[in-house]
Symmetry: D3
Subunit: 161 residues, 6 copies
């Protein structure tokens, strides 16, 4: 396995290991991730038609936004080989995508030696799980789909889907 | 909003709130969740063809199994309205599903007043994010799909997909 | 110090120590705590007069409610000699008290060998600090007052203020 | 709500969001916060008259100092929209203020893009809650008062009460 | 590997997995662990001869006691396959063993389906590391020795060294 | 106690306090720590002779490597007066030392104002405790020995054993 391409497996031993970023320069980095929560028409209707929920997207979406933001901050505790990082910014949004789905987006920024993709991906995951949790009493068929990177900037190669 | 069906929104105020389980009896509860990580053929081939990785599923899958187990234990810290719970068991598995995808499963058990669905769903999510993290140097196109509940037992209504 | 009355100081040595609850029976316990956040007229007016904030108490209060609930769940991590406990329920509310103050309340329940006063008190503290954080750009004079126990039930002696 | 002054509510949507500090320069920042714990004469006498406690302020105050320091380090985990930060220094002190009260102070420093007010305020809150916890067996009437900022330096505007 | 004796490796797959304790009965369990911190004569003399430190064992030992207690409560977060557990009691002590060493002991109790050995061992480890941290400016030669189980009760087989 | 040499005790008061590193320059720092886990011949033979375990060091060692890496990242949460730090690198290894012992090593790097000795020492401790946990069903006589610093660089004085 001396020539594996997995950055988190040590080149010599093949064992899991953090990537050494000691010699890398600090740059401004951005990452955006997204996912969809397939709630079904009935639940989504309930979420959007109440007078209260309609005005301000309602407490379900807001709770998810806060949980996603807090989850992104704890990425390095959850993902074994992630570097502990500060964060310059973290924004989570939840929007109605169509009659049965919402879309969750998380954008993260850091001035650091390594990127914040995992922070953005963890942010959308925790936000989506929170929506699931708050709606699950109404259905066992909620599904979280398409957790993926939308964009990243500031590292070796920029990326935009 | 006096008649909303969202268990985590207070019936009177519509504000987010934990569900009171004080009067519920303790039962043995089980939940199983799953998701797929779409890695693409190239990455999956690398993961499965090395002599070392082949024998024991390799450190990527094992790291994911451990991260998923540890993530499941921290569900109540991540999901705002989840009850803090002990856990009787938590098993995470990662298997090759086809030439471009792996499937992650997490089964959780508790003897408690409330279920462990969110624990199982959080377990698969963190395991999948860990696989993503360890393979992301090779591609920006990895996608996590179909985070969903497979089965639950021991609560008001059993469910099996 | 052989006769100190501080439950968390060891009777013999006077050193800090957790209280042994091994022989205590499990009972249903409740605690309610409260505090006030003195925001001043100007900030409170802003918080309550926007069309959006008015309807649903607005994201400041909701963020505080969620942060307080999550903070209560982490009491045993923060307070050195608190027992780690599950929780049957945790409700945080934020209400306008008068033209310059809001009142935060947290009610916690557990079926356990020890009480949940510290959980309720930690819940109101974290909720109040969150309100402070979200309003602090407008004033350095916000003050958190009167963090105190309102009621407890289920332990040796019930208490109600 | 396009013109709200709440730094943690997104200008466009009014939803809770972290403040983007990506373009801010790193400066040396200091914050000092304080609060009082009203213990009552009887408890405070016990805390200060024992031969052991007298010499070294006793384990109650020391436990609070350590808990406050540890609590300050976890501010970004507790307060949803706080940035995760390192810390250059954190000092917590507990002093007898008068015959029934102690005063808790926490001073925090960071070299960063954003301030450490919330860290100092969280530090005094957790220290005060720890004193409460260790004395609560003797009274239900302990109250935490006046959690407030005393001073801050290094940001846009210095402040000193 | 179908006949391995490692409780944390799945019998069928050999992969790491939590032990299922769903069918086990709750019993009262106790564990005691210990370790030694070899500080050297010079440091230990400083720790024990100051007038303040002498009376109350000093802030180094007390800080270690508190850190060990808090560390024990977080065992399940640190050790991947440990069950999350409550705790009925946790006592950490630090005593001078001879002219160059201190001994740390941690005793933990739980009423549960699984033991608290790891909690006691984690408690002494974190307490010893804290002593190391507070003394390390004086020497690079401090060594932590003999982290081991002293006693356990309440599980399948009692043990006492 | 005005002249104590304990960096973590305040010079004036003798009370525990973090060291102020506000005026220190950022340097590249490295620390390496190690410890031994005395498993006994029988357990070690089992760990190394299975066909699966032999190839890839097996899941016990890998689980320990991951746990140690994650533990190192949480040092500042566990050790009261440690500064919260990022980390540029963290590598944990587990090797068979002789017929009854394994040796755990952890190397940590940071670009910061203070060192990462405690991170390396916490890393080996948590890895060793994880090995203990996974083997303890086979023996109560496992002992962790010689947790110590092997090397540090980048601070006031370099050190190498």
């Amino acid at each position: 396995m001396s020539d594996n391409k997995f950055s988190h497996l040590d080149k010599k031993t093949g064992l899991p290991a953090m990537v050494d970023v000691g010699e890398k320069a600090q740059t401004q980095r951005l990452a955006i991730a997204s996912c969809r929560v397939v709630l079904g028409k009935e639940i989504l209707q309930q979420l959007t038609e109440g007078t209260e929920l309609m005005t301000k997207k309602g407490p379900v979406f807001q709770t998810a936004i806060i949980a996603g933001t807090m989850g992104a901050k704890r990425t390095a505790e959850l993902i074994p080989l992630c570097h502990p990082l500060g964060m310059d910014d973290c924004k989570v949004t939840v929007d109605v995508l169509n009659e049965s789905e919402v879309i969750v987006r998380c954008s993260t920024k850091v001035t650091g030696k390594t990127g914040v993709e995992m922070e953005a991906l963890t942010g959308v995951s925790v936000a989506a799980l929170t929506i699931y949790d708050m709606c699950k009493a109404m259905s066992n068929d909620i599904v979280i789909q398409d957790i993926k990177l939308e964009e990243k900037k500031g590292g070796k190669r920029d990326f935009k889907r």
